[in-house]
C-alpha cells in the first residue's frame, strides 16, 4: 500500500516544488528586483524575437489557412458560404491561434530554456554565478520571464493578424465562395475587442507557464547530459498538458457561459 502511495506523493512533491519555484520567479519580477539585470532581460527579449517569432507566425499562418479552407467548404456544404468568416473569427482567435502559439512556445522556447539553463547547471556555470554573489534565479530565470512579458504580447497579436490574413487568403482569394466584403461583414460580427483581450490572456498564461516550467526543469537539472535530456522531455510533456488545460479553462471562463456572438434562438 505504501508503495502505491509513493508515486502520487512524488507528483505532489514535484508540484509543490514547481509552485514554490514559480512564486520565487514571479516575486523577483513583481518586486522589480530583476531590473538590476534589465540589460540581460533585453538580450533575452532580442533572442526571443530573432529566434522564435518567424517560426510562431509561420505555424499560425498555416493554421489560419487550414481554418479558412475547412470553414469555407463546411459553410458551403450547409448552404451558408457567407458565414465562412465565423470560422476565421472563432477558430483562429479563440482556439487554434492560442493553442498553436502554446505548442510552438513549448517546443521552441520552453525546450530551449531547459537545454540552456540545464547545460549551465551541469557545467557549473550556475554555481559560478552564485559564487560571484549573483542570484542565478534572478539573472537566469527572472530575466527570461521579464523578456517574455515584454515581447510576447506583441508577438501574439501579430500571430493573430497572421492567422486572420491566412484565413482571408484561403476563403476569399483561393476558394472564393464569398466576396471580400461578405467575409468581413460576418468576420467582424462574430468578434469584438474583449475577445482579442481574452485570447491574449489565454496565450500569455500559456507563455508564462511555459517559461516557468522551462526555467524550473533547467535550473534543477542534474545527472549530466542525459539528465538535461530527461528534463527537457519532462518539461515538454508538462507544457503540452498545461497548454491544453489553460486553453480549456480559458474557453470555459471567457466564452463558456456566453458565446459573445450574434446567435439567436
Amino acid at each position: 500500500m505504501n508503495d502505491l502511495l509513493l508515486t502520487p506523493r512524488g507528483w505532489i512533491e514535484a508540484w509543490g516544488q514547481i509552485v514554490r519555484f514559480a512564486a520565487r520567479m514571479i516575486a523577483e519580477v513583481a518586486s522589480l528586483r530583476v531590473m538590476r539585470f534589465f540589460g540581460e532581460a533585453l538580450r533575452q527579449a532580442g533572442i526571443l524575437i530573432v529566434s522564435s517569432t518567424l517560426v510562431i507566425w509561420g505555424l499560425v499562418f498555416i493554421i489560419g489557412l487550414e481554418c479558412g479552407i475547412e470553414g469555407a467548404y463546411f459553410t458551403y456544404g450547409e448552404g451558408t458560404p457567407a458565414y465562412s468568416g465565423v470560422f476565421a473569427a472563432w477558430c483562429d482567435l479563440r482556439e487554434l491561434v492560442p493553442l498553436v502559439f502554446g505548442y510552438m512556445m513549448a517546443a521552441k522556447v520552453g525546450t530551449g530554456i531547459v537545454a540552456e539553463i540545464g547545460s549551465m547547471r551541469i557545467s557549473d556555470e550556475i554555481d559560478a554565478l552564485e559564487v560571484m554573489g549573483i542570484s542565478a534565479m534572478r539573472f537566469l530565470c527572472a530575466t527570461r520571464l521579464l523578456a517574455a512579458l515584454i515581447v510576447l504580447p506583441f508577438v501574439y497579436l501579430c500571430s493573430i493578424a497572421a492567422g486572420f490574413f491566412a484565413s482571408y487568403l484561403a476563403v476569399v482569394q483561393q476558394i472564393g465562395y464569398v466576396s471580400s466584403g461578405g467575409f468581413f461583414l460576418i468576420f467582424w460580427q462574430f468578434q469584438n475587442p474583449p475577445d482579442v483581450l481574452y485570447s491574449l490572456i489565454k496565450a500569455m498564461a500559456m507563455a508564462i507557464v511555459i517559461v516557468i516550467v522551462g526555467c524550473y526543469y533547467g535550473y534543477t537539472a542534474s545527472g549530466g547530459p542525459v539528465g538535461v535530456g530527461t528534463a527537457t522531455a519532462k518539461s515538454m510533456v508538462l507544457n503540452l498538458v498545461s497548454v491544453h488545460l489553460i486553453g480549456m479553462l480559458g474557453t470555459q471562463l471567457f466564452w463558456g457561459a456566453n458565446p459573445r456572438a450574434p446567435i439567436g434562438g
Binding site: 516544488q17 547545460s119 549551465m120 557545467s123 557549473d124 556555470e125 554555481d127 559560478a128 552564485e130 559564487v131 560571484m132 554573489g133 549573483i134 542570484s135 534543477t220
Partner: protein
C-alpha cells in the same frame, strides 16, 4: 535547494575533545591566533599539571573503529588565524555519507591543500565554504562568521570575497573570454569600461590569454579554460581563492606551470595585501589528489579520507609524517592502508 540546518546560533556543535573543539583547540588548531569555536570561551582554557591529550573521537555511527584506525586527527598549528574552519560537519546525499564529522581549518595567508583519494568529499568541502551546499549538521566559519546562519543578502556579500576556479573553468558559454572575465566587474563595481579593460587585460596577460580574449569558451582547450577561470576568479581581488582540482585533465608540464602561476599570483597578492594593510591576507585553497602539485604548491596540507581529516599540518611536516596512510598517499605507493576498496 538545500535546507539549512536548524543549528542553535552561537553554540558550538563541536563535542569537547573533538579536533577543533574546546579542549583540542589549544593543542591542535592553527596556533595561538586560531579563532575560538563559536560559543567557546578562549579565556577559560584549563591549566593542567598532567599532560593530557584530547580523547580520540569515536568512529561515525555506522563505521567501525578499524576503518578509522589511520585517522590520527592531528592538526598541527600553522601559526596563522583560520580563514575558514569546518566544525564537526556531517553531510549526506541520500544514503551516501560524504562528510562524517569533518573538522578542518584553512590558515590565512597560506596556500592550503585538501588532499585525498577520489570520492572523499573534497569538492563538497568547497561548496560548503561558499554556501552552495549546507551541512546536515555542524558549522562552517569564514573569518569567524557562520556560513549556514547567514541570511541570503549577507551570503551574497560574503561570496564576493571568494574566488572559485571550477574543474572545467565554468566559463559562460554565451560570452567570449573578455566578457567572461569582465562580468564580475560589470556586475559588482561602478568602474568604467576603460578601467575594466585595464583590469581584465592585466589578469588575462598574467594567465597568458591576452591574445585569446575574443575567443568563445568552446574554442579554448581545457587548460586555457582553467586559466581563464583563474583570471575571472581574480578580478574582484578576493580574500579567499578556491581551486577545485585545477590539475584534472592537464598534462604534467601544464600542471606544473599552473602550480607556478598559483604560487606567483599568491605571492603578488600577499605583497599587495600587506602594502594596502588589508584586514585579511589572501588565502588559497587547492583541492586535488595530485601529489606532485601538493609538493610544489602547498604551505599547509589537509588529508581527507572517509569524510574526516586524517592529519593536517604545514607541508614539510606532513611530507615527513610517520602515519602510514599519509606516507602512502603522499608518496603515491600502491602498498599501504589505502586499497581499491
Amino acid at each position: 535547494m538545500d535546507q539549512r540546518p536548524a543549528a542553535p546560533q552561537g553554540q558550538s556543535p563541536v563535542p569537547p575533545g573533538a579536533p577543533g573543539g574546546p579542549a583540542a583547540h589549544a593543542g591542535h588548531m592553527s596556533g595561538e591566533h586560531a579563532t575560538p569555536p563559536a560559543g567557546g570561551n578562549p579565556t577559560t582554557s584549563r591549566v593542567s599539571v598532567i599532560s593530557e591529550s584530547a580523547p580520540r573521537p569515536g568512529p561515525p555511527q555506522d563505521a567501525s573503529a578499524e576503518e578509522y584506525r589511520w585517522h590520527s586527527y592531528a592538526m598541527r598549528p600553522a601559526g596563522q588565524p583560520d580563514a575558514v574552519r569546518f566544525i564537526d560537519i556531517h553531510k549526506s546525499f541520500g544514503r551516501t555519507h560524504v562528510l562524517r564529522g569533518l573538522n578542518m581549518a584553512l590558515p590565512e595567508g597560506m596556500v592550503s591543500m585538501i588532499l585525498g583519494p577520489s570520492g572523499t568529499g573534497k569538492s563538497v568541502c568547497i561548496k560548503h565554504m561558499v554556501g552552495l551546499l549546507y551541512p546536515d549538521s555542524g558549522d562552517i566559519l569564514v573569518h569567524g562568521r557562520s556560513v549556514p546562519d547567514m541570511p541570503d543578502s549577507e551570503l551574497f556579500e560574503m561570496r564576493k570575497r571568494f574566488g572559485l576556479l571550477f574543474q572545467d573553468g565554468a566559463l559562460f558559454g554565451s560570452m567570449n573570454l573578455y566578457d567572461n572575465v569582465a562580468f564580475p566587474l560589470r556586475q559588482h563595481t561602478e568602474k568604467g569600461e576603460d578601467e575594466i579593460e585595464e583590469i581584465v587585460m592585466r589578469r588575462l596577460t598574467e594567465v597568458g590569454l591576452a591574445d585569446a580574449r575574443w575567443k568563445m569558451p568552446n574554442e579554448l582547450s581545457g587548460g586555457m579554460r582553467k586559466r581563464a577561470g583563474f583570471a575571472r576568479a581574480l578580478v574582484l581581488e578576493p580574500d579567499i581563492l578556491l581551486f577545485d582540482e585545477p590539475d584534472s585533465g592537464l598534462d604534467p608540464v601544464r600542471t606544473a606551470l599552473l602550480g607556478e602561476l598559483i604560487l606567483r599570483i599568491h605571492r603578488e597578492m600577499m605583497e599587495e595585501a600587506k602594502r594596502k594593510r588589508r584586514e585579511h591576507l589572501p588565502t588559497f585553497c587547492v583541492v586535488t589528489h595530485d601529489i606532485m602539485s601538493a609538493r610544489r604548491v602547498a604551505d599547509y596540507i589537509n588529508v581527507l579520507w572517509k569524510g574526516r581529516i586524517v592529519e593536517a599540518g604545514p607541508a614539510d611536516e606532513m611530507l615527513s609524517s610517520d602515519n602510514p596512510f599519509i606516507r602512502q598517499f603522499l608518496s603515491g605507493e600502491s602498498h599501504g592502508p589505502l586499497t581499491m576498496d
